[in-house]
Symmetry: C4
């Protein structure tokens, strides 16, 4: 299960680069390439934020699946739903990058962008809680209930900020972008992942 999930996440994270388009030479105008590259800074911002966010989901997924000795039908299906939400991210990233430089549609695009992260977080928390609450006897090392609750609380606290980021897209797409960037930074910190050691 891990090798397939790793494959899907690895392909999704690498497909993000297809969103970074090379400026069409014929359409450069008199400003030149440098100007055209700088003018699409939204594409790079969306690329970095999505890359780091998917990367962190992979780290969390790796830790979560690494705990499991066995999987049943529910785990396989919940995992598939999580991969479905991850697989959509190259699209929502491309949507945001395209409309952030347009006059209209920015707010909706930013809402869908943060909303797709929210969806992914919900799918992740659902899988995580299924494993930790119902299939705790399949873990490699037994975890006390307090520790399991701590892990779960951590995945649930991600939902709030993404819901806020989605809602604030109505106000400004840039606020949404900044919140998503801050969340990526926060989740990349050791406090958030709680990883101290994992098999290489």
């Amino acid at each position: 299960m891990e090798s397939f999930s790793d494959g899907v996440i690895a392909v999704a994270i690498t497909l993000l680069v297809l969103n970074i388009s090379v400026p069409e030479p014929r359409l450069l105008g008199h400003h030149g390439l440098a100007h055209a590259l700088l003018a699409q800074w939204q594409i790079y911002a969306a690329y970095v934020i999505s890359f780091v966010t998917i990367g962190i989901i992979w780290i969390n997924h790796h830790v979560m699946i690494g705990r499991l000795r066995e999987a049943d039908h529910a785990i396989l299906i919940l995992n598939l739903l999580l991969l479905l939400t991850i697989g959509v991210l190259p699209f929502s990233t491309s949507l945001l990058a395209t409309y952030l430089k347009q006059g209209e549609g920015q707010n909706l695009a930013a809402g869908i962008y943060a909303g797709s992260f929210l969806l992914m977080s919900i799918a992740f928390a659902t899988l995580n809680s299924h494993i930790l609450l119902r299939k705790a006897h399949w873990l490699h090392t037994e975890l006390p209930i307090e520790e399991r609750r701590r892990i779960l609380t951590r995945s649930l606290t991600g939902l709030g900020p993404y819901a806020i980021a989605t809602a604030l897209a109505v106000v400004s797409p840039y606020i949404t972008l900044v919140i998503c960037a801050l969340l990526a930074l926060f989740y990349a910190s050791p406090i958030a992942t709680g990883v101290t050691k994992a098999p290489a």
Copy 2:
């Protein structure tokens, strides 16, 4: 063999997202982005149905190959043919999504869509029956002949509905789409896969 197959299936399932096109800003018209995104709902429907169907084929493939201790030339070639039919799905999904919103060509596109699932099911059933009937001595754990017949019957019963979905495309592409969606839902249920436990 499993790592290569997992790779091909993971790439095929993730490439599906390339079909979800970002609406061209210049072509939005006065209806705006929301309208343009909703107007291509067929693309999302096709994406979700194809994603779940490929995902379930992966689960079944994982269980089937997980039973095997060794592989011979026939298994490798039959597996390659199965991957060939899976590799085609991003195309047939894109074809359906494109033509479902056109006035003409809908029926043919839906027929090819369901037909490609039918082809994949035939390839899967062929590989499965080769393994269970002819190479049963290569299974990790010996399976009684009744159990093997039950597994085979399950993979064969998939063919009928997909053949019906393909044929009904002449009547309406939406009937085909609904049947494919219901089949994905049905196969995602624990009764259909018969998975109770698998190594994580």
Copy 3:
């Protein structure tokens, strides 16, 4: 090494589907979708031949690397060159599929198509001979020199037909296509691969 090579080959084989383009609805004309799909039969032919050829190279690669216990710098670099020639195949397949329906350029495109298979075969034979002749002490199970020569002869006999297919592109691209198809069929037969049993 195997997981990386498997990944590259899996991505290359799955990217082939991007060559199968969905006919543009606006450009269908009065012949309709069925006609447009049939008119690009060269694309499907090239897809199937390339898919099967890459698939067989994977089988052979899997068997070859499966024999190895350790790898040195030369093996890693020769393997990388083999992957380089495999990575180019989605391009040469697309080139052939595009120009086979054009009036001109057909012969050159077919020559490059078969030529890229020839190049891949040369890279494979080079890696194979390096392993079997110079690094025979790194094999999992010792192979007598006659057996090693037999395996090598088999990989070398592939070069001739591909060289002929490349040369005959001057006469007709369809002859080249048919030879490549026959070679794929031949290599997919158990006589050619010599695989009797491999770990699943």
Copy 4:
């Protein structure tokens, strides 16, 4: 961690082929396909140089991670940043290939091309030094401090030439291209990688 990294690098290296575009038949002019294919030689040069460079980074990454028994949060994040810089290479390769045949923008494109290799080298050296200096107790086999310093010096000496290649893009993009090609050749030599034996 290795299977995910292998996946990302394998997808990035294979996506490079999407940059090799098939000449549009309608735009061939009277020179024909051969001329059009030769006229885009910059694309092939950029493809080969990027492919070999990413391949060598993979070899080095494989050796580096192969030394590790365990990973902590810092290693996972530094590895993710390295993958981020590798994931960008299909874009910078495409940018160089597009602008090398244009009159303007060549220098900037070449600078970004070599600059992205420089960035990747910095990310690699950072991860490598973190592992060898701070997490040396997690290595499978203990390495004496002199040996660790020798490995580190080797990854640091890569930075200089790439910085020079980036700076010289102001003078001529072709000088940059030649330096990057020579570096790929040099790093592919056994002296540079220092690999004598690795598990297959």
